[in-house]
Symmetry: C2
Subunit: 334 residues, 2 copies
């Protein structure tokens, strides 16, 4: 297997591009793809301050490294989610990456600062852990970006992530989400601009990038995400991609070209309904935002161990509300 | 396992409906679902003449039986596709069903009347067999309906079929097809009205219906469809449905409710470009319709055996045209 560019020994084959690359040309390929994504979608201007949402996984560390390699002013933020050893190791990977390179990294600990962690939030809300986790991360990164005067938040969503989210959105025709599933969300009252510079790179490519760049990332998947819908959608798309390389790319980019615009009225209508949270000022559809409500509901609740919250638990839509998976005789709120 | 209706012993469980049924109540369930589909989408009026596109498989025979059970005036048409033993057995199943019940069935043989069969068409056109097969069937059923003065054509597409086609259409955002993927296509110049009364029944349910009604259908899948995209999309959706029963139903019916309308401008634009075929008068985008072109291209070509045409063969989109899978030194036209 030879590098498509220099004919030297290749280290990776990319079937959807019908190309193989040696290490150096693969790294260049990754930089080029990120530069193209930033350029095509006008994500970041030169000189703007970027806040990278770092998890300690391959995508966010590759993203940070790539933005720096492309000459952007990028700083990091990591959130301690309190998901047992997994969160400890994730934060440690982010801290080590930043420390070795002398990069500024803001560390926020959910329990230390807000008095809860994700397993406890999942038990109290009786919803899948990913629900309060995603909400908490979005809230805190938005807040950090606005408080810190950053121009833009960059997240490590890759092509596999975006294709799987898109599949979930079309399987249920969540038209409001479809209208918002774009690689750049412009800034508006109470929200910073948010961009996804890795949308042209697959999961396997960000992993290979980290290996070739000597970046130590946390390899484990989140134990609370195991078996969730997002991973099932990824698996379904992987089966299709294996038989028809390029399907994920076409699915996502042809959506942007041909369909996303159709759903923007639905997304815009949902946005009009936002007003500042009475407690923290963040945009919300209710009086108090979901983050402040979660802090309130988990206040004083003892930590629930990860092992007691069933991962990827789903509720049947339209069904009656069931008993939470958390221990029934425990410190679990309503 | 007890019948949800009468508490007698159940013969089938339907997870997406959270219900089990005994034989009698399952048959009633099927009739009710078809009646609801016909009613919800205004498919057929009482007294109209229906032409059922019959293949000899479970779906089309169940459809014919159900339409008769619901009191509709339904006659059948089957097309001999010339796919070796498979087609012979399929036509025989349709003929036996009609014969035992004294029902009118029109039999059209592709090679006998039009001088080609599907394996030969696939070899000559160098495309997947499903391509010329679908086109030929659509052309001939439309023609038979118009020539015979039928009010409407009914096809046996079930929920699994429609969900898989929808997945294919969204994976490539074929917006014109999305705008047309509705359970009723109204009649217009040169096209009869076309309806899909089985859209509320899954594949497993039409099979169970046939078994319970003592209908002998051809169980084998078409040998030329093996490994095609449609079957891959079905498999991907089956994996998702197994974990989340009801996903296929939501995918298809929420599409109809919330998204199909967005794509109707694209579908309408494509329809405006149709004009009568110079040769047969059927609506087409070119001077001569695809069916007449295929008859012309296959004229005088010796039959190509099924075994020599690779099933489910795909061409890479955007790639260069390759050598056909048919024998290179054979009676294969350009």
């Amino acid at each position: 297997m030879k590098c498509t560019v220099c004919r030297g020994p290749a280290v990776i084959d990319l079937r959807r591009h019908n190309a193989n690359f040696c290490g150096d040309h693969f790294l260049k390929f990754c930089r080029d793809q990120v530069a193209k994504a930033i350029d095509d979608h006008a994500m970041v201007e030169r000189g703007e301050r970027v806040l990278v949402a770092v998890s300690g996984g391959k995508d966010s560390l590759a993203l940070w490294d790539l933005l720096l390699a492309l000459g952007y002013d990028a700083e990091g933020m990591v959130i301690g989610l309190g998901i047992g050893d997994y969160s400890a190791a994730s934060t440690a990977a982010a801290v080590a990456f930043a420390g070795e390179r002398g990069l500024p990294l803001q560390v926020v600990d959910l329990r230390g600062t807000y008095g809860y962690d994700i397993p406890t939030a999942a038990a109290v809300t009786r919803r899948v852990p990913c629900s309060s986790c995603g909400m908490s991360k979005r809230h805190l990164i938005d807040k950090a970006a606005l408080d810190g005067g950053y121009d833009v938040v960059a997240t490590g969503h890759n092509l596999d992530d975006e294709a799987a989210v898109l599949l979930g959105n079309v399987l249920h025709w969540q038209t409001e989400y479809l209208g918002r599933q774009v690689p750049v969300l412009p800034a508006r009252d109470g929200f910073p601009r948010k961009v996804k510079p890795l949308v042209r790179l697959a999961e396997r490519e960000t992993a290979a990038y980290c290996v070739l760049r000597g970046i130590d990332y946390i390899v484990e998947e989140c134990p609370m995400a195991a078996g969730n819908r997002h991973l099932r959608y990824k698996a379904a798309l992987n089966d299709i991609e294996a038989a028809s390389p390029g399907t994920k790319h076409a699915f996502y980019f042809e959506f942007l070209d041909k369909a996303a615009g159709h759903f923007q009225p639905e997304a815009a209508t949902a946005q009009e309904a936002l007003a500042p949270c009475r407690s923290c000022g963040a945009p919300t559809t209710g009086e108090v935002c979901a983050f402040c409500r979660l802090v309130e509901r988990t206040s004083g609740v003892d930590p629930v161990p990860v092992e007691l919250v069933r991962p990827g638990r789903k509720r049947r839509s339209g069904g009656t509300r069931r008993q939470a998976a958390a221990p029934s005789a425990g410190p679990v709120g309503p």
